[in-house]
Structure formats: structure tokens, C-alpha cells
Symmetry: C2
């Protein structure tokens, strides 16, 4: 490791400067006027990777291109897909930025710019880790396949198609994504689980037209009231989901997880203050972290019906609807869960209305076992890079790319999150600590080494 | 009465033709391009009233003018305000009309045109009844004050102001409005009660911003779910309103009313078929007519919160809201009822949310006692005109003008409804039966005579 440390130390200033240069490219994927900038960012990466010994290829898609590169000389060693994205979020509201989003500013060891944390900085940590091995014709301890896309901020529009078409080329033993966060400042974390998602839309239909609430009020069931009564019955008094069979397949939280989560310095008071709520609320018998990371939930994302404009319109509406997403834990099947919800809703609906449920395709949860050698390698890597053992955490949201890798390539993903959870990823004044950037480079170096010990 | 009958018979063809002429004027108050037509309709009425012996005045308002005329020569006799409106609804969707809305067509004794029933035909029934007395310098048996407005279809924007400013001029003993319907074909009805209205808007506020339903789902109460649970608690299992004290002031339905309503040929099957609902639903212990006419109700007119657009946006929303109107029966105070609702909502709200209730000004119910001499006069009038005793009915909606007359002039209103309940008042192919038109003229003649017997 000494040799690698030396290289990193000698080049660290240059690494910082390279990141600054990369961040100057306004590669906003959502805005057509930045199409050229997206390509410039892709070419920047291609050129850099070429310099350190790759033969990268820009692969066109109907949208923004994907940069692909591989280095497959470590015979008998694991092959790792390393994913990142070079596109960034739009900058609005621009007036809330303390400095221009594409003129990176370094202040107190922190670099401020759009894309600093999400994901250019984290992506470059891997590039520099690779470079640390490969400079002067050196060899990597593992085989790598790099996939850097330009459409992550616009729902990875063409990534699935690319992966599906190139399954043979992308065949790997695992994947690494650095596009998540630590638990907090100096609190490195290994995210080993993500929740899945099962979305659907519900419509409750009453009379065939909007009625005058004076002339008809009292004569027929109001679809809004009926929908509300049904939504009220989706949770019981303990805030458990009341849908029959909902918990049948749920993977219970393990004892070690409860212990691990309990160790985390989660400040409920600060959390409440941040959200300006009087109380936190969720399923009885679980802590807040358990509830949002490792227990399934059901939320209405939207509700609508009748007159929603300014002032009064005294209708008894024909229908009311809502959008629901359920967040799933491992072993739950998104299709089955939507079917259960539909059956339950139709069962509790009164005869006065008709219920329509439109199911949207979801995704299962993702989890990697603590005993999986890739996670052991990741733990050691973070411990080296950050100087302390990482926390084992889960995340309540989904990362579609992780599901794609699992489904199409059959691989688990290491989520090596390097930035801070409050890094303003999609907001003004996005930042990335240079200390975290450097720790990330060192962690990645150790990760590749550790992975090379793995039997394949 | 013989003399009046003769005059009506001799002139009936001319009355029909006058109505056709009046209906040819496209006096759509909502559309600025018809401003001139509105005035033309007002002038048409002025000219006709002048010919039969009135000295009408066009009174300007910031909007469309009000036509006022009086005849006050029946000393010691009651003074009646007769209200009508000469403006009409827009004609869209125009392609659903079987004939052009402003080219009246008479088919099988029915006149089809915009405004035929609402309200030109009903208004002209009174004009011709007045003419029946006044032609050739004849005298009216009562004193009358005619108020014909041009803004009824745009919420009577300037009527209240006009009445408020001219209370002395408009001083009367009662009012008559012919702008409602019979109960059905050949089923004349006397509407003696209207429900009041108490509107408000409710907002349930949770976290200070929309949250990611994956990252936060399970941690905090969802304002949509909370609002729904609260709405679900607004009615009990018997569909009674669960707000504490809500029924305290309610005027109970009288035995004679239940008997009267039960006599009505109300076809529940046809009603369900028309609305395409499987069942009718309302407060336990009451029939459908009782529920919508004589019992208070509470309806959500609209509900909204979170993401309401196409597709998915997986937010746990910051707030959710709804619009509520309560329909009131006599003795209930709209302000008190809103206060009770607010108190109840705040009482049942969990500590996880904040509840805001915005109260909008409402109106009390209106009812005229069956024993009131004006209602006795009206009953006799309809019996003469239609050849059978009218049903005594109530109506679930409100008529703001009736409330204005009560509040500002202290008078009760006879609702002498002449058209059919399915007359397409605001829809394509609006119609008015010429038989009902003629019966209306005769009823009005008898009404004025009967009212002249009343002591004042």
C-alpha cells in the first residue's frame, strides 16, 4: 500500500484540479441547450481514461452517450462493474447559490459546484484509484468494466436497453456504485439494503357525473368520503398496514441490524426540528430508522377529486382518486403486494361505489448479506480510507440501477457512498469535502485489492 | 275570473309569439360579446311593460342593468316584489343542440330555446298575468314591484348592492320568484323550504416540505392519510354527521311533511339508473327525499394534496386539503356550524399534524310555514292553474336571492316553479312546455287575486 499512498500524495493536488476542471463542464442532462456540454463531459472522461491506460469507447444512445471502458488482464480474478454518471442536475433556483454552480470554489477544504457530490466527485475517486494502479503501465489487481452514463438525472432513459443488449460484454461478478452518502460527517457507512417499490393508482367512482351538492347531498355516497374511509382503513391503530397478507413474505429485521442501527447517532429531536413536525410516527414496535429502512410502508403520494381550484364549487363529485406507493423489504414481491392491496380495497369498498386499481410496475428490494465477501471487502476498504469501521446501514428508497444490475447481470452492488447526506445533491450549493474525496480514492484502492482476494 | 280567462284565451297566441321574440335575443350574461344583447333583452322588457301600463326604469349597475317597475295603486293591499331574470346561460356545448339555441322551435307544444325555462318563460308568465289585469287601464288587485335582473347566471353580482341601496323603494310584504320547477309532468309543487349552506376549507399540514416517500416513508405521519382518517370520522356508521353538537339546533321534520313527501311518486330505481349508482345512501332513518330536502348533510366538494399529475412522483406530501360544504336546515346557524366543525376537526387531529380551517361565509336555510297566508294563496293559485292541488316540497339547494330578500327586506318568498325538473336549464335543448307557460299565467292571475285578500 505504501507505493500507492505515495502516488496518491504526490498527485493529490492534481486530482483536485482535475475535478475542478471536470466540474466546470455544465453537463445538465435535462436541458437540451446543454447537449454539447454533456458530450464534452463524456469526452473529458474518455481522454482522461485514455491517458491512464484504458481504451474507452463512447457508445451512442438515442439520448446522451454512455462511456464504456474495460481492463481485463487479471486472470482468475473477479470482474467488477464500476458505475457512475457524468451528467448533473439543473441549477435552478440559481439565485440561491453562493457562487456560480459551474465555477467551482474551494472553501475550508470543501469544493462547491453542481455535480461535486452527485456524481462527478465520487466517480473521479474511482478513476484516480484505478490510475493509482495503472500509471506507468501498472496492472490492476482485478478486472474492471466501467460504465459511466450521461442520463442518470433523467431517469437513466437508455441504460437498461444498453445493459440488456450488452449482457455478455458487461458480464461481471459484482458492481460498485459511489453515488450515495455516508451516515454523517466522519461517519462512513456501508449501505447493504434498499427498499423496493410497488406503485398503483386508485379510483373510486360514484355517480356518473358531478352533482349539485345541495340538490343531491344526502342521497348518494360521496366518492371522496368513501375513498377517505378506505384510505383510513389501510393502517391499523398500531400503524401497521391492514392489507390482508401484506406482511406474509416480509424479511424480519435481524437482531444484529437492530443493534447496529441503535448504535447510530440518530438525533430524533434534530430530525423533527428539520421537518418541523411535533412527533415522528410509524409502525409500533420499531424505531424510526428501522421503520424507514427495514420495514415496509404504504404512502399516498397524491389525492385528488372534485373541485380543486380557488373558491367554492359545490359539487358532489363523480369520482376521487389517489396515488399510492408501497415501499418493500426483501422477499416481498411488488406484483403480489399490489394484488393484495387491490383485493383489500375491493373488499372494503361499499356497494355504493366502483373501485378501479391501476398497477404500475415496481421493483423488489435489494439486500446484500453481511457475510458476502464483497461486503467484507468494502468494510475493510472504508475502514482503511476513513480510519474507522463503517456503520452498516440500509436506505428506504430504491436505486433502479441496482435492480437492473441484479436482474440483467445477476450481480450484487456495493454502494460505496462517499459524500455527506446533506450535500445538497439536487439543491443550490452542492458540495463535496476534499477530505472525503481523498478518503474515497484510498478506499477504492483498498477495495480493489481486497476484491482480488475473493474466489470466483 | 271569467273576464281574465277570456283575455288570456284571446291573447294566448300572441303571448307565445312574444316569448319566441324574447327568446331570440341571445342575452348570455357570462360572455362579454353579448353585452349588447343583454341590454336588448332589458329594453325588450321595458318596452313591453310600458305598453301594458308600467313606467319601467332601466337601472345601471357596474355590470348588466336591472329593470325596475312598480304599480302601487291598490291601497291597503299587500305589496309584492316579483323577481325574475332576463339573462341566460351560455349555450356550449353547441353541437349537442337539436336546433339553434336562439331560434326557438315549437314541437308538440313545447318550446325549445336557451332561456325558455330559465327564466324568460317563467318571467313572462308574470308579465302576462299582470297585463291581464292592467290592459285597457285596468287595476291590479295588489301592489307590485318588479325586479328583473341581468346577472342571475353570473351569481347576481350587483343585486345585493342594489337591494341594499334601495330598501325603502323595494319595501314589500312578500316576494314571488318563478325560477324553480314542478315536481314532474303535471305535478305542480310548492317549494316551501330551501337548505342553507356553510362552506369551509380544511388544510392538514405535516412536514415543512414534500419528502421522498422512500427515504422518509415510515418516519412521519402522511398528511393525506391523516386528512382521510379525519374525513372518515365526519360521519358515523349510520351516516349521521359525527361533529359534536351538529344536530343541536336542527328543526326536525314534521309528521305532515313526512306524509306529504311519502305521497310523491319518487322512483328510486329510476333515480339510481339516472346516476348509475348501485345504491342510494344517506342518514339512517330517513328516506332519500327527506335526506336531501330536510336533513343537514356534509359533503367534501374537493380533495387535493401531493402529486396530482400524470404518472408517478413518490412524495410524502407536506400537506393535504379539502373543501367542505354543509347543507343546513332551518334553525341552524352557518357560523356556529362551521365553528363546531373546526373544533371537532382540531379535536380529532393527531399531534403529528397542524389543522387549518378557513371558513367562508354561508347562508341559513329558508322556510315558509304552511300556515302562512302567502302559501295558502299560492296553493290555491297553483290548484286553479294546474287543475290539481300542488305537492308541498322542499329543495336541497339554496337560492341566494331568497336569503337576500329575507335578510335585507324581511320578506318571505313564494317559489312558484312552473317548468319541469328535467328542463335542461343549463344544458343543450332547454325547453318549456307551452301548457306550463299558460298554466303559469293563470296561476299568477289567481295568486295576485288571492294575495289581495290578505290582511297587511
Amino acid at each position: 500500500m505504501k507505493e500507492h499512498e505515495e502516488y496518491i500524495s504526490q498527485n493529490i493536488k492534481r486530482f483536485d484540479n482535475t475535478l475542478v476542471e471536470f466540474l466546470q463542464i455544465p453537463s445538465v442532462s435535462a436541458q437540451p441547450e446543454h447537449k454539447k456540454d454533456i458530450r464534452a463531459a463524456c469526452e473529458f472522461l474518455r481522454n482522461y481514461l485514455s491517458r491512464i491506460g484504458f481504451s474507452p469507447r463512447i457508445i451512442e444512445t438515442p439520448g446522451h452517450p454512455i462511456l464504456y471502458a474495460e481492463h481485463l488482464k487479471a486472470e482468475g480474478k473477479p470482474t467488477t462493474l464500476i458505475y457512475g454518471h457524468y451528467d448533473v442536475q439543473p441549477v435552478d433556483p440559481i439565485h440561491l447559490w453562493d457562487s456560480p454552480p459551474f465555477i467551482p470554489v474551494i472553501k475550508d477544504g470543501i469544493i462547491y459546484a453542481r455535480g461535486a457530490a452527485d456524481d462527478k466527485g465520487q466517480l473521479m475517486a474511482h478513476v484516480h484509484a484505478l490510475e493509482t494502479f495503472m500509471h506507468n503501465g501498472g496492472e490492476l489487481p482485478i478486472n474492471v468494466k466501467l460504465v459511466f452514463e450521461g442520463e442518470e438525472e433523467i431517469a437513466s432513459l437508455h441504460l437498461d436497453e444498453f445493459i440488456e443488449k450488452n449482457q455478455e460484454m458487461l458480464k461481471s461478478d459484482l458492481a460498485i456504485i459511489s453515488d450515495t452518502a455516508q451516515f454523517g460527517k466522519d461517519m462512513p457507512a456501508l449501505t447493504y439494503g434498499l427498499r423496493g417499490i410497488a406503485p398503483c393508482e386508485v379510483k373510486v367512482i360514484g355517480p356518473n357525473r358531478d352533482l349539485h351538492s345541495g340538490s343531491y347531498g344526502g342521497a348518494v355516497a360521496n366518492p371522496i368520503t368513501v375513498l377517505c374511509s378506505m384510505i383510513a382503513k389501510l393502517h391499523d391503530n398500531d400503524n401497521r398496514i391492514a392489507v390482508d397478507g401484506f406482511y406474509d413474505d416480509v424479511m424480519p429485521i435481524q437482531d444484529w441490524e437492530r443493534e447496529e442501527f441503535a448504535k447510530l447517532p440518530f438525533d430524533e429531536m434534530a430530525y423533527k426540528r428539520d421537518l418541523e413536525v411535533n412527533e415522528l410516527l410509524g409502525e409500533k414496535g420499531y424505531t424510526t430508522l428501522e421503520r424507514k429502512w427495514a420495514r415496509p410502508t404504504l404512502d399516498c403520494n397524491g389525492i385528488f377529486g372534485g373541485y380543486m381550484g380557488e373558491g367554492q364549487k359545490t359539487v358532489l363529485p363523480s369520482w376521487a382518486g389517489c396515488k399510492i406507493t408501497m415501499r418493500l423489504v426483501p422477499k416481498m414481491d411488488p406484483v403480489k403486494v399490489c394484488d393484495l392491496l387491490e383485493a383489500y380495497l375491493k373488499q372494503i369498498a361499499p356497494p355504493s361505489v366502483r373501485v378501479e386499481v391501476t398497477k404500475v410496475s415496481g421493483a423488489p428490494a435489494a439486500i446484500v448479506s453481511r457475510d458476502n465477501p464483497i461486503m467484507q471487502a468494502a468494510e475493510k476498504a472504508l475502514e482503511y480510507g476513513f480510519g474507522r469501521k463503517p456503520f452498516w446501514i440500509r436506505e428506504g428508497g430504491s436505486i433502479p440501477t441496482v435492480n437492473t444490475f441484479k436482474e440483467l447481470l445477476g450481480v450484487d452492488t456495493i454502494l460505496l457512498g462517499l459524500c455527506q447526506p446533506d450535500c445538497n445533491a439536487h439543491s443550490p450549493n452542492e458540495f463535496f469535502g476534499l477530505d472525503d474525496f481523498h478518503r474515497g480514492i484510498r478506499s477504492a484502492v483498498v477495495l480493489y485489492k481486497e476484491l482480488s482476494e475473493m474466489k470466483v
